[in-house]
Symmetry: C2
């Protein structure tokens, strides 16, 4: 028997894991194919629910799924570690002590928080990209509440109890809404009224509207809902500096706060190659219409680190889980076609709609230019998310967390 | 109205939280009494189930309960922080920036891991006293499995896959049993057989028997069960040194391992006073028959940091959750009696039996010299533990975790 064809995936986020899932559909039990994955964590993290972990709505363990469990049947090798260097000539990837060879390579390293070199941002603010980040945010909120509850000076207390979210994209909006409920509803049953009165939430957004990538109605609706919740939404404001106890925005306005959550944007995770690869201005790997690197047809890039030009709109597709998932599916198909000596298919992106939760009982969505909001949307949002979580075990647990939250307050233990 | 009587509790473990619970029974809604608690964490940790978090059987969040939730109704003040200095003369305790005064003081700071100054023990081994400790142990086990799965050399692989537990008390025995199930049952569904064959567990115990504080039958039974599980139990062996990839035991025998879990003993958490307090040889605060410090009758000490002489056996009571709980109850009663100008009661300890789990479906117990083991005991063990967990919300969650474990493998995500 000839040696198996080696397909290697770099990354264990939406792109990598969905690539694996789709390859499994084509090659399950196929002894001629060897599937391997490199990941820096041993689990898949369902990032769209991270903000619920940060605000105590979901147990951290319930939005992750061990990689080996996701598709143990078809994952021949899993490497826990970082892809240190990718060699296009020898078709190998170095991961710690292992040199892994490939016939087809799928690059899906994802993205990391972009602090845009704003002074103090990385040092003093809290990003939200990992489970550890989410736990830190929750712990900080609790610590600030505890400390402030022994402070008599009201001005000082108000400054301590101001929570600032930087970034008005979907993550920032969802997080601000959940944060409001954590503070105003959950904390209020543990802390006296005079403390609760001094809490406030500020959302800083650089554009004139929230969630600018979404449709007009959803943009207006989310602003309306957040303001109704008492969140101070500051539009067309950019952060100039972050300090230990403040942020500075345009016109040198200083906002005092001890909790700055930074969800203002992402940048592609860096990969090293033995020869330069073509990148977009924001550092993503430029791919052709088949999602291949133009000079290395056996190498594909997908997800947040890939720049695929949407033919209809002539823009690069945004960094969304949905995009990564669909690109992963297309890449798996194309690899299967190439292996069978067939012609790959051009990738065509179709948005399947956007959904955003705004706390308990409220969500907004848009599908095919149709916008909706309210309780039904909220129920729909939960169901969609629940079914995207991979194992039934996790589905049951998240459902249990959510059900509990309806009847009893969130968990405010500092982890 | 005269100023309220201030009762201050130091510590949020079994002693502190049960003192609060019992004081609440006496003084609920009593405006003349002010209850305050100082804790280094904002939650109560149910330590007897920590080993199940370390081995992936229970979600970390499910064995903790926020202090403010335990008894919000009667906890007038909660201070998150460490008691830095206790002043017996001015009746005050310094906690970070706050100087807290008391009329009655309950010292329940608990215990920390004792490494007995053994070279390398603190540096290279994993203790099991906190949620963070438990998560680290689980992460290490997973990391070692992942790394070893790419190692071809069998001797090297066997050394990597040897897990060493130091300490054959109840924690060590329960942990070793659970660890065996995590490795041999859960991991075996994710890793190939040749890797699994190279895993092994070693339990090192300095005494000639396991759990020497328990009755004879339970000591024999637990040894028998662990050995049947394939765990190598080494008796009358002491650890001389711990290194990055080995432990050295008596006769200079070197055991290669990359995972040493240290559950060999505890020492009382240190407290600072403005004048010396009488201590036992192992550093615990000596209390009289009313659980008071002899020279400061308004100060009580309970739990792992207190030395109460058991009149029947003429020994100090052991560091057990059960002891702390009963002392807490007695202290609450005595404070209530003193406040009402009555004579305090002498504390009398009655052991209500010992229960120990040895993995799924197996437990051993002893109550009134009656020893039992098997499935019924195991069911009983779970029920007892479940009912000791404070809120119904947490009870439901632990029950859900346990039920899930019966039907699907444990969660092996590295947190």
């Amino acid at each position: 028997m000839s040696r198996p064809i080696k397909i290697l995936i770099i990354g264990n986020g939406f792109g990598g894991v969905y690539a694996l899932k789709n390859l499994h559909k084509f090659f399950h039990n196929d002894k001629k194919i060897e599937l391997a994955l490199v990941g820096e964590k041993n689990y898949f993290l369902f990032t769209p629910l991270l903000h619920e972990v940060a605000t105590g709505g979901i147990n951290p363990g319930n939005i992750i799924e061990p990689i080996r469990k996701v598709l143990g049947c078809c994952l021949d090798k899993f490497y826990l570690g970082k892809a240190e260097i990718i060699n296009f000539d020898s078709h190998t990837v170095q991961v710690e002590n292992a040199l892994i060879s490939y016939d087809y390579l799928v690059l899906a390293p994802g993205a990391e928080t972009n602090f845009y070199n704003i002074p103090g941002a990385e040092e003093y603010s809290f990003p939200l990209k990992s489970i550890a980040d989410a736990i830190k945010i929750k712990n900080r909120c609790i610590m600030v509440m505890e400390r402030a509850s022994h402070v008599e000076n009201r001005i000082k207390r108000k400054n301590m109890l101001r929570f600032v979210v930087v970034g008005g994209g979907p993550t920032g909006v969802e997080l601000a809404a959940e944060l409001e409920e954590l503070i105003k509803e959950t904390f209020s049953s543990y802390y006296p009224e005079e403390i609760m009165e001094d809490t406030s939430i500020v959302l800083i957004q650089k554009s004139p509207e929230l969630v600018p990538a979404f449709g007009e109605k959803i943009r207006k609706k989310s602003l309306e809902i957040l303001r109704k919740k008492g969140i101070e939404v500051m539009l067309t404001r950019t952060v100039k500096e972050v300090g230990l106890s403040y942020v500075v925005i345009n016109e040198n306005i200083k906002i005092f706060t001890e909790t700055v959550i930074w969800v203002a944007g992402v940048k592609p995770a860096e990969l090293k190659f033995n020869q330069p690869a073509k990148q977009s201005s924001d550092g993503r790997l430029v791919v052709n219409e088949y999602l291949q690197l133009e000079n290395h047809k056996e190498v594909f890039a997908i997800g947040d680190a890939a720049a695929f030009r949407d033919a209809n709109k002539n823009i690069f597709l945004p960094a969304l889980a949905q995009v990564a998932e669909k690109e992963a599916k297309a890449v798996a198909k194309n690899i299967q076609l190439l292996i069978n000596n067939k012609i790959p298919e051009k990738f065509l992106y179709r948005n399947s709609g956007n959904l955003m939760s705004l706390g308990q009982w409220m969500a907004v969505g848009e599908i095919f230019n149709f916008t909706f909001s309210g309780h039904t949307t909220w129920w729909f949002w939960r169901t969609v998310y629940l079914f995207k979580l991979i194992s039934w075990r996790k589905k049951v647990r998240v459902a249990a967390d959510w059900t509990m939250n309806l009847f009893s307050p969130r968990d405010i233990s500092q982890l």
